[in-house]
C-alpha cells in the first residue's frame, strides 16, 4: 500500500460542502413553484374582484319620486296607448321645479329623468285606465348620468351634468325624493341605447334558445358517435380518419367555425341571419368533439365484467350496449355534455360571424327570431362609451359567470353523486 495523505478527501466532504447551496436552491425552486400557483390564483381573484367591484352597483338603480297628475287633457281624442305620456313627466317636473324657465333649462330639467318613465306611465294606464284624471306619487327611473352621480361613479365636475341639474338633484336628495331601488329593468328588459333601460333578458333568452338547439343536436349525435367509435367501429383507415378529425376539430379556433356558419348555413343554405337556430348549429359543431371525447372516456370506464355478464345471459351486442353499458356510462356523458354546454354558453366569436351581434331590442320568442347572446351582449356593451354601460357590462358578466358556475357545479355534483367506482 502506498502512503495515504494526512487528510483524505472523502466524497461525503464534497457533498457536505455543497449541501447548503443545494438546500438553498431547493428552497428557492420550491418557492418559485408556490409563487407560480399564488400568482395564478391572484390573477383569478383580481379578475373576480374587478368585475364584482364594477358590476355590483347595477343591481340597484336610482329612482326619483314624481307627483304625476294623469291629466285627462292628453287623453282627449287619442287612444290611451298613443297619448303623450312624456308630457305628463314634463308637467310633473315642472310643477316640482318652476325655476326652469328658458328652453335650455327646461331641456336640462327633462334630462334628469329616464325617457323610459313615459313607458312606465303608459304601462300603468294600460293596466288600470281608472288612473286617468288622478294624482299619484310614482317612483320613476332617473337618467343614467344622475344614477352614476348618486353612485359616486361620476364626479360633479365632469361636465356631464349642468350646474342647474346638480342643484335640482341636490334638492331632490334633500327632499328624500331620490332613492336606489332594485333594478328590475336590468333583469326584465331587452337591449336599449339608454343604459337605465337596458336589460339582459333579451340576450339571455337568445342564449337559451341557442343552447337548446345545441343540446338537442350535440348530445344525441355526440353519444351516438362515441358509441360507434368505441364499440363498433372496425379498426381501419376510415375510422382513423374520423378520430384524427375529431381531435383536430377540438383545437380549431372557434372563429373558424363562425366562418363555416357564415359561408354554409347563411350563404349556401339561406338560413336567417342573427337567428339562434344558426348559432345553435355552429355551436353544435364546436361542442361535438368535447362531448364525443368525454363520452368515449365514460364508455371505456365501464368494466368488462358488465359486458361479459350481459353477453353471457344471451344479450346481443346492441342490447348489451344500449341496456347495460350506456346507462352506466350516462353520468360521465352528461357531465361532459354540461361542460360542453358551459363552454358553448361563453362562446362569442362564432356568433359574431353569423350576425348575432346586432342591436336587438325585442326579446326573442323563438328559434328564428333575431337574437343576441349573453356574451355578445357583454361585448356590445363593453364598446359603449357611457359610464353606466360599464357597470352593466360588469353586471352582465357576473350573470354569465353565475350561470357558468351553476352549470359546472351541477356537473361536479352529478359526477360525485352518480359516478361509480368499480
Amino acid at each position: 500500500m502506498s502512503s495515504m495523505p494526512d487528510h483524505p478527501i472523502k466524497s461525503i466532504d464534497i457533498v457536505n460542502k455543497g449541501l447548503n447551496r443545494r438546500y438553498r436552491a431547493e428552497k428557492r425552486f420550491r418557492r418559485i413553484g408556490l409563487g407560480a400557483v399564488v400568482i395564478s390564483i391572484t390573477f383569478l381573484s383580481l379578475l373576480f374582484i374587478s368585475i364584482i367591484g364594477r358590476g355590483h352597483g347595477a343591481v340597484f338603480q336610482t329612482h326619483m319620486l314624481l307627483e304625476i297628475h294623469f291629466d285627462p287633457e292628453i287623453f282627449i281624442g287619442v287612444e290611451a296607448g298613443a297619448a303623450d305620456y312624456a308630457r305628463l313627466v314634463k308637467q310633473a317636473l315642472h310643477a316640482q321645479f318652476p325655476d326652469a324657465a328658458t328652453r335650455g333649462e327646461k331641456r336640462a330639467l327633462y334630462g334628469i329623468v329616464s325617457s323610459g318613465a313615459a313607458f312606465q306611465l303608459r304601462h300603468m294606464v294600460m293596466e288600470d285606465p281608472g288612473l286617468i284624471g288622478k294624482r299619484q306619487s310614482i317612483w320613476v327611473s332617473a337618467d343614467d348620468d344622475v344614477d352614476m352621480l348618486i353612485k359616486g361613479n361620476l364626479s360633479a365636475e365632469s361636465g356631464r351634468l349642468s350646474e342647474n341639474q346638480l342643484a335640482w338633484i341636490e334638492r331632490l336628495q334633500a327632499q328624500a325624493r331620490l332613492k336606489k331601488k332594485f333594478n328590475t329593468a336590468f333583469f326584465t328588459a331587452g337591449d336599449s341605447r339608454e343604459p337605465e333601460q337596458a336589460g339582459i333578458l333579451g340576450a339571455a333568452s337568445g342564449s337559451f334558445f341557442t343552447l337548446l338547439i345545441t343540446l338537442m343536436l350535440s348530445f344525441p349525435i355526440g353519444v351516438a358517435t362515441a358509441i360507434y367509435l368505441e364499440e363498433f367501429a372496425p379498426k381501419n383507415r376510415w375510422t382513423d380518419l374520423i378520430e384524427v378529425n375529431i381531435n383536430n376539430l377540438a383545437a380549431v379556433p372557434s372563429i373558424v367555425f363562425g366562418l363555416l356558419g357564415l359561408a354554409v348555413f347563411l350563404n349556401a343554405f339561406g338560413l336567417p341571419r342573427s337567428a339562434p337556430l344558426v348559432g345553435g348549429l355552429v355551436l353544435t359543431l364546436m361542442t361535438l368533439p368535447t362531448i364525443i371525447i368525454a363520452s368515449r372516456a365514460s364508455l371505456q370506464s365501464v368494466p368488462p365484467s358488465i359486458r361479459d355478464a350481459a353477453l353471457g345471459i344471451g344479450a346481443s351486442k346492441m342490447q348489451m350496449i344500449l341496456h347495460h353499458v350506456l346507462p352506466l356510462a350516462m353520468p360521465g356523458m352528461l357531465t361532459g355534455t354540461i361542460i360542453g354546454m358551459a363552454r358553448a354558453l361563453g362562446e362569442t366569436a362564432p356568433l359574431l360571424m353569423i350576425g348575432m351581434v346586432a342591436f336587438i331590442v325585442d326579446i326573442p320568442g323563438g328559434f328564428t327570431d333575431p337574437a343576441s347572446a349573453l356574451p355578445v351582449q357583454i361585448y356590445l356593451w363593453a364598446d359603449s362609451p357611457e359610464r353606466a354601460f360599464e357597470e352593466r357590462t360588469a353586471a352582465a358578466t357576473m350573470t354569465l359567470l353565475l350561470f357558468l358556475i351553476v352549470m359546472n357545479g351541477f356537473a361536479v355534483v352529478l359526477r360525485k353523486r352518480l359516478e361509480r367506482r368499480w
Binding site: E26, N247, P253
Partner: protein, 463 residues
C-alpha cells in the same frame, strides 16, 4: 294551415301510430298476448321497425325539400319577373329578391313598391303555398306507404330485432361521419371564398405584402382607391401578442404544474386545482373585458409614470391577459406529462442523493420535455386562434412593429372587423377575411398535428 312545421308534427304523430300498429300486428300474428314467445323478437321491436319505416324515408324527403325549396322558388319567381328587372346586375337582383322575401314575410320595405314587385310577392307566396301543400302530401304519402308496407311484412318469423339493430348501427355510423363533414365543410367553404379573393389579389401579395389596409373604393376615381392586402403585419402582430402570452403562461403554468404534482400536499391541491380550473372556464369575452377595462388602463398609467409612451390598445395588455387565460391550459397539460414520468426514474435520482428540485430539473423535466413541448405548441395554437381578448383589447390598424407598447392587430381581429356588419360577397374586402381564416386554419391545424404527434409518441414511450 299547411306549414312545414305542422307537417312535421303530423309525421311525429303518424310515427307514434305506426309504432302502436306494428306492435299490435306482431301480437296478433303470434295469436294474442299469451303467445308472444312465438315471435322471433319481442313485440316492441316490430313496433319500432314499423315506426322507422314510416318516419325515416319521409324525414329524408323533408330535409331534402327544406334544403332546396328556397332556391327553387326564388329561381321560379325571378324567371317570372319582367324583363327589365331580370336584366339587372346580380347584386341588384339579389336586393330585389330580398325585398320580395321581406314583403312576403310581412315586413315593410322602404321605398315605393311597384306593381311588378307586388305581383312577384303574390307569386312568391302562391308558390310557397303550393310547395308547402305538395311537401305535406308527399311526406305523408311516403310515411303511410312505409307504414303499410312494413306492417304487412310482419310475421312471427321476421327477425325484427336484428333488422332494428342493423338500422341503429347505421344511424350510429352516420352520426360519426359528421365530424368529417364538418372538417370538409370548413375547408371547402373557406377555400372557396379564399380562391375568389386570390382572383382579385395575388397570393404572393397576400403572403409577402408589408401593408394591410383593406378598404375598397366605392368609386373608381376615389383617392387611395386600391386597398392593400399584405398579411405580413397582421401575422406578425398575432405572433407578437401570442409571444407575450406564452412568455407569461409558460413559466407560470409550468412552475405551477411542477409544484402541484411534485410538492403540494393533497389538501393544497384539493383547493388550488379547482381554482386553476375556474381560470380555464372563464369565457374569453370576460377576459377581453378585463383586458380592455382594467389591464390596459393600468399598463398605460404605469407606463406614463415611468415616462413610457404606451398605446391604450397596447399589445402588452392583450398579450398579458391572453397569457393569464392560457396558464391553466399549459399547467394541466404539463401536469399530465409530469405525472406520466415513471416513479422509478425519480426513485433512482433520490437514491443517488439528489434533492427533489435536482430530480425535477435533471431527470423529470428532460424525460417529460417532448410532452411539455407538445402541450406548449397546442397552447400557441390556442393563443393564435383566440379572438375575443384581442378584439376587445388590441388595435385595429396593422402596424409593422415589435414594440409591445404599440398597438398591433391580429388575424382574428381583422376577420371580425371585416365580417361584422353589412357584407357584400363580391368585394375583396369581405373575401379577405376568408383568406385570413384559411391562413389561421392552416397554421393552427399544422401546430395541432405536430403537437398531437409529439404528445402521442411521448406517451407511448412510457406505456
Amino acid at each position: 294551415m299547411i306549414s312545414p312545421s305542422n307537417t312535421l308534427i303530423a309525421l311525429v304523430l303518424l310515427t307514434a301510430l305506426a309504432h302502436y300498429l306494428g306492435l299490435r300486428r306482431a301480437v296478433a300474428a303470434a295469436g294474442g298476448h299469451a303467445h308472444v314467445q312465438k315471435l322471433h323478437s319481442r313485440p316492441v321491436y316490430y313496433g319500432m321497425l314499423t315506426a322507422m319505416w314510416c318516419a325515416l324515408p319521409a324525414l329524408l324527403i323533408y330535409a331534402g325539400w327544406q334544403a332546396f325549396e328556397s332556391y327553387i322558388i326564388t329561381q321560379l319567381v325571378v324567371a317570372d319577373l319582367p324583363v327589365t328587372m331580370r336584366d339587372l346586375s346580380a347584386a341588384q337582383l339579389s336586393l330585389v329578391v330580398n325585398d320580395i322575401k321581406n314583403m312576403a314575410g310581412g315586413t315593410i320595405v322602404s321605398g315605393d313598391v311597384g306593381p311588378e314587385l307586388k305581383a312577384a310577392v303574390a307569386h312568391y307566396l302562391q308558390l310557397r303555398g303550393i310547395g308547402n301543400a305538395a311537401l305535406a302530401a308527399v311526406v305523408m304519402g311516403v310515411a303511410v306507404i312505409g307504414l303499410v308496407g312494413a306492417r304487412a311484412r310482419i310475421s312471427t318469423r321476421m327477425r325484427a330485432r336484428n333488422k332494428m339493430e342493423r338500422l341503429i348501427l347505421w344511424l350510429l355510423a352516420a352520426c360519426s361521419t359528421i365530424a368529417v363533414f364538418t372538417t370538409v365543410g370548413i375547408v371547402l367553404s373557406v377555400l372557396y371564398e379564399a380562391i375568389r379573393f386570390f382572383q382579385a389579389v395575388s397570393v404572393t401579395e397576400f403572403l409577402f405584402g408589408l401593408k394591410w389596409s383593406p378598404q375598397m373604393a366605392i368609386r373608381a376615381d376615389q383617392v387611395g382607391s386600391s386597398g392593400a392586402f399584405g398579411a405580413v403585419p397582421v401575422v406578425l402582430g398575432t405572433l407578437l401578442i401570442a409571444g407575450i402570452a406564452m412568455a407569461v403562461a409558460v413559466p407560470i403554468g409550468l412552475m405551477a404544474a411542477i409544484y402541484m404534482s411534485e410538492y403540494a400536499g393533497s389538501r393544497f391541491r384539493a383547493v388550488a386545482k379547482p381554482l386553476m380550473e375556474i381560470l380555464a372556464g372563464v369565457p374569453t369575452v370576460v377576459y377581453g373585458f378585463f383586458a380592455a377595462l382594467v389591464v390596459a388602463p393600468f399598463i398605460r398609467a404605469a407606463g406614463q409614470a415611468i415616462g413610457l409612451d404606451v398605446a391604450s390598445e397596447s399589445a402588452l395588455a392583450a398579450g398579458l391577459v391572453m397569457g393569464i387565460m392560457i396558464i391553466p391550459f399549459v399547467s394541466s397539460l404539463s401536469d399530465d406529462m409530469i405525472t406520466a414520468v415513471p416513479q422509478s426514474l425519480r426513485d433512482g435520482a433520490y437514491g443517488l442523493g439528489a434533492t427533489p428540485s435536482e430530480t425535477i430539473r435533471q431527470v423529470v423535466l428532460p424525460a417529460a420535455l417532448p410532452g411539455i413541448v407538445g402541450g406548449i405548441l397546442l397552447a400557441v395554437s390556442r393563443a393564435i386562434g383566440e379572438t375575443m381578448i384581442v378584439v376587445m383589447a388590441a388595435g385595429l390598424t396593422a402596424n409593422l412593429t415589435a414594440n409591445p407598447f404599440k398597438a398591433v392587430t391580429t388575424v382574428t381581429v381583422q376577420i371580425v372587423t371585416l365580417l361584422v356588419g353589412d357584407q357584400e360577397f363580391d368585394s375583396p374586402k369581405t373575401l379577405a377575411a376568408f383568406a385570413l381564416g384559411l391562413l389561421l386554419f392552416v397554421i393552427t391545424l399544422g401546430l395541432n398535428i405536430i403537437a398531437l404527434q409529439v404528445v402521442r409518441r411521448y406517451r407511448e414511450q412510457y406505456e
